[in-house]
């Protein structure tokens, strides 16, 4: 009897253990988002508020029970703007279950990670590298390509030139960081300038971290620039224009900047120098952003006073809105159990026309487009505030003018 009981108990224990082993503890349904970010490095001033916007948006979704019961896990990695660190971090997290999207904070990181994203059949979002629109892949842009937004600035310059009653064509100088981001604008931007009859001077490039920009600015001024486009992520363009102001150039030359141009960060420090600066942006800036209750309500709920509000926060929310819209479609198509990054990749291509509460224009992702949106708005610094001077307008297709190898 004792022996029989022993055998019976062993069998029961064995079956119980195998059942536990097969099922494991009841786990929550979860998907992941990896941000290869910069929280303590050179562009932390913009990335931190952007990821705050995203994280708060995700918190809001998760506290309401997620999407069909699926919550979102935010994984933020501080790459300090370093490509090697980002690639290593991607290696560490690439096998995270249901890692549906990777956000690479810089053009350099995006280019490096893109190859791995293709091999792993995952999906990635990056700032504005037009190459990913020229060669359709699993990498999507946050908004219009850099060169398209630059072309929109050139359109504004031509209009402004004519409005001022000037004859002939304006001469435009371009200076930016000496890295993939800085050069990207001209891969199609140069061709567009030629197409509309603007004389673009030979570009000036400088290393990120340059303290003074007098040499580059003086060279452009001496070459006859009527307009100077200051690239770099804020506060770099703020500092470039500050130097232009000190040299007295802002009196005769109109300064412009791209969508990483002066934000609350730069205007708060150098309002006088930035007065009159024109910024081409795909997301709401300055007063527009401060008047968007959808954005400011969330900021106040999670971050408190509006004193330290930066408009890039709204752009982070926009990433979240896109992810959630994609997740809904992917879950509908594949169901949670079979959900893979490839489903998210397919879902993103179906987000054409997705509205984002006015933060940026309608989503332009499709099977043939990797542009986060096609429209930009032109802003200007007036009396220390960033105010819109145009409505949303479609950015020209400058990517299509360039021959990408």
């Amino acid at each position: 009897m004792g022996k029989r009981w022993g055998v019976f108990l062993t069998m029961v224990l064995g079956i119980s253990l195998s059942v536990v082993g097969l099922t494991g503890p009841a786990s929550a349904k979860e998907v992941a988002y990896l941000s290869l970010a910069d929280y303590t490095g050179p562009i932390a001033g913009l990335n931190v508020p952007a990821d705050m916007g995203l994280e708060d948006f995700i918190k809001e979704i998760n506290t309401k029970g997620g999407i069909d019961g699926v919550t979102i896990k935010f994984i933020g990695i501080d790459t300090r703007y370093d490509v090697a660190r980002a690639v290593s971090a991607y290696k560490r997290y690439r096998r995270t279950p249901r890692l549906l999207m990777v956000n690479s904070i810089s053009t350099g990181i995006g280019k490096a990670v893109a190859r791995l994203i293709e091999a792993d059949k995952k999906a990635q979002i990056v700032p504005g590298d037009g190459e990913f629109q020229a060669h359709i892949s699993r990498t999507f842009l946050w908004g219009p390509a850099y060169q398209d937004a630059f072309a929109a600035t050139l359109d504004w310059i031509l209009d402004d030139w004519k409005k001022k009653g000037k004859s002939g064509a304006p001469v435009v100088g371009y200076l930016s960081w000496d890295n993939p981001y800085g050069r990207e604008h001209l891969r199609g931007g140069t061709e567009y300038a030629e197409k509309i009859g603007i004389k673009l001077l030979p570009p000036e490039f400088f290393p990120p971290g340059t303290l003074k920009h007098d040499v580059y600015l003086t060279r452009l001024a001496n070459a006859g620039a009527n307009y100077i486009h200051a690239g770099g992520v804020d506060p770099t363009p703020t500092n470039v224009i500050r130097d232009g102001y000190s040299l007295g150039l802002t009196k005769t030359i109109q300064f412009t900047a791209d969508y990483w141009g002066p934000t609350a960060l730069g205007v708060g420090v150098h309002a006088e120098a930035l007065e009159g600066t024109v910024i081409t942006s795909f997301f709401q800036r300055g007063e527009d952003a401060r008047n968007n209750a959808f954005v400011t309500d969330q900021w106040k709920k999670y971050r408190g006073s509006m004193d330290s509000f930066n408009e890039v926060y709204g752009m982070g929310m926009s990433w979240g809105m896109t992810y959630v819209a994609g997740l809904k479609k992917a879950l509908k198509a594949a169901g949670y159990e079979k959900l893979e990054a490839d489903d998210m990749y397919k879902a993103y291509q179906e987000l054409t026309g997705l509205e984002k509460n006015g933060i940026q224009g309608p989503c332009a992702y499709s099977p043939t487009s990797r542009l986060g949106s096609k429209v930009v708005k032109i802003y200007q610094v007036k009396a220390g505030k960033i105010v819109p001077i145009t409505d949303w307008r479609e950015a020209p297709n400058a990517v299509g003018l360039h021959s990408f190898k």
Partner: protein, 163 residues
């Protein structure tokens, strides 16, 4: 006789197959090599212009390679979570699976010197907290093949200043 057949089929044959698999696995891992140049250094601004570099072989042709520093127990690095390795360089193998690369200035500043960054985007050397002297394991991993090779970088204290 029948018992012998059963033992052969259930124990010996699977054992041989498993052993062969393990043997070939370790052989391919042993093929990958990594050299750190120099293998010993002290931290000084000269590393920005003459950075620590890496040479390797035995990886899959044309694959991306990440070079990581494994932090010894008790050493922390700004921006890196506990348990994470620090990517300090990257490379692409040539068609023979060999590579040569070096740390970029940003990597040296961020991971060796642990500098801060000013609002002007310049490295803040006053806020720097150089990693302590010691033996740091360096690992190169092929991102397609998962082949890995390791070596050591010895960071020594700087020589005493001449009076």
């Amino acid at each position: 006789m029948k018992a012998l057949k059963i033992i052969t089929l259930t124990l010996i044959l699977p054992g041989l197959v498993l052993g062969a698999l393990l043997w070939t696995g370790s052989a391919s891992a042993a093929d990958a090599t990594l050299d750190v140049v120099p293998a010993e250094t002290f931290l000084s601004p000269a590393l920005i212009k003459q950075p620590v570099s890496f040479k390797g072989s035995g990886f899959a042709p044309n694959e991306m390679i990440t070079i990581e520093m494994i932090l010894p127990e008790g050493v922390t690095v700004k921006g890196v979570n506990k348990g994470e390795d620090v990517g300090i360089a990257m490379a692409t193998a040539d068609d023979k699976g060999s590579f040569s690369t070096a740390m970029q200035p940003t990597a040296t500043l961020n991971w060796f010197f642990q500098v801060g960054w000013t609002p002007l985007l310049t490295p803040d050397l006053k806020a720097a907290k150089p990693i302590p002297p010691g033996d740091y394991k360096i690992r190169a991993t092929g991102l397609d093949s998962d082949r890995a090779a390791s070596s050591t970088l010895k960071i020594v204290p700087p020589p005493p200043k001449k009076e």
